[in-house]
Amino acid sequence: MWSNLPLFPPAASKMAHQVDYLYFFLVGTTAFFTILIVAMVCFFAWRYRRKKNPVATQIEGSMALEMTWTLIPTAIAMFIFAWGAALYFAETRPPRNAMEVYAVGKQWMWKFQHQEGQREINVLHVPVDRDVRMIMTSQDVIHSFFVPAFRIKADVLPGRYTSTWFHATVPGTYHLFCSQYCGTQHSGMVGEVVVMEPAAYQQWAASGSDGSLASEGEKAFMQYGCSMCHRADYQGRGPNLVGLFGKPVLLDDGRTVIADESYLRESIIYPGAKIASGFKNIMPNFQGQISEEELISLVAYIKGLGTGQSNPPATMAEPTAVYPVGPQPEKSQATPSGK
């Protein structure tokens, strides 16, 4: 128990050291002011104890002192705020071309899906010296993805995607904790992040996968009949999804939203919530029929449309599964969704 008493977490990411510097500054400031106050209190307590100073001197106050000890702490606070805000900007804005890993949190485990197709439970393999962006959702309650060694944390919410990113700098194995209380086995919802050298990671990535996440999504896209309405070769009953990801979408009530991962997910399982302008509300609602993992593969597939990472739907044959489409509308005079 005593032999290995760490008092500080390992620093294994690019952000970790920066966070630590700010932390040390805060510790220093706290220590300084605490010692200052405690020292003054102790000194006054001794110097002005009743035996030594039987009569007190009444002092009303001092505007100069009030201003001093208001303005100086305010200035220090603003400095800390600015520094922290700068770090937070960096922490919440993943760099472009970060490698994406999807995560689903559920009571009480973590499920990871890599772009290359591997799936993991509670253990996350990542390469060192790469930007990694986590795109996460929960199947049930709110969880939180916390890797102390990277100094990152992000809550994982049901019904939408949240994300965080990191750039691991030191190979090794690090704790992964769920840090948002989620029920009985909250303290059991722990895992590991394994940071590997690039070569070792390539080897690991190449083994044990049936195909990339996007290709799984492509299969699901066909299986659920999406390609019947969402075409790229002609205007189908649904909007063309090629190049959609990340663009603004005009809705039928006049609002404009950005087609991010959460939008794509919501549109699959609850299409009525946001209807693209010019289209009818005829998309079947897949709530309860598609698991979060399949949703992730679909999202990954759609994200890749137009970027060359996914095959466009136009090249697909007939859908492989039959499913209820609903009443057949007349050919719609649709204008394409806002691009």
Partner: protein, 223 residues
């Protein structure tokens, strides 16, 4: 009835004089109404958020409100506020009988409001618009329309609860007024009772347009 006798009888022991007692009671009622604003405020905030995010769902839900009954209730409450004000006026000029009559009408109008509300709730129940396992709604976005109805029942339900308390309060004032407890020297309880009643009325003035008037069209009962 000797005014000074009643006044001395009513002075609570910890107040210096009737003026202080009256000012304190009025101030207390105003602070209480501020807490009520905050209490309803949470619901109004939730409403604003969901309406902003899902305007179509709210529009469709609002179309199913019975606007005739809603407008009737608005008129009923406004009239009840009028009679309440008249009651306060009458007590200030020592018109005991009229005070009691106006308080009675106020209470009856309040009860009428509750009756109309009960009819509306029943209509919603029959139309399967009450949130919960029995909820069924044909619309673009039934999930969020259910939230509209949840907020509708929460807000009007909370309002109705305050109405019930208000009716009880007015009944209490009415009985006291009948017994001659209030006169031109001492009418503060009627005044602050009136404050409470007007507040409940004003909450309804906010609820009615937000819940009933989102859309020009209404299913069933329209104008």
């Amino acid at each position: 009835m000797h005014a000074s006798q009643t006044a001395a009888h009513e002075l609570r022991h910890h107040f210096a004089d009737m003026d202080q007692q009256r000012d304190t009671a009025s101030f207390g009622m105003w602070i209480f109404l501020v807490t009520e604003i905050m209490f309803f405020g949470g619901l109004f905030l939730s409403y604003m958020l969901y309406r902003f995010l899902y305007p179509t769902a709210f529009l469709e839900g609002s179309r199913h409100m019975n606007i005739r009954l809603g407008a009737l209730n608005t008129a009923v409450l406004i009239c009840s506020s009028l009679t309440m004000v008249l009651a306060v006026r009458c007590v200030k000029i020592n018109q005991r009988k009229l005070t009691v009559i106006f308080l009675l009408i106020t209470m009856l109008l309040g009860l009428a409001f509750m009756g109309v509300k009960a009819i509306e709730y029943h209509e919603h129940w029959v139309a399967r618009e009450v949130p919960g396992p029995a909820f069924q709604f044909e619309g673009t976005d039934p999930r969020h329309t259910q939230i509209f109805f949840s907020l509708y029942f929460a807000m009007t339900g909370l309002h109705a609860l305050h109405m019930i308390i208000g009716c009880g309060l007015v009944l209490f004032l009415m009985i006291n007024a009948w017994r001659g407890a209030y006169n031109s020297e001492y009418y503060n309880p009627v005044e602050i009772g009136g404050l409470y009643w007007h507040f409940v009325d004003i909450v309804w003035i906010w609820l009615f347009p937000l819940l009933y008037l989102i859309s020009h069209q209404h299913v069933g009962g329209g104008f």
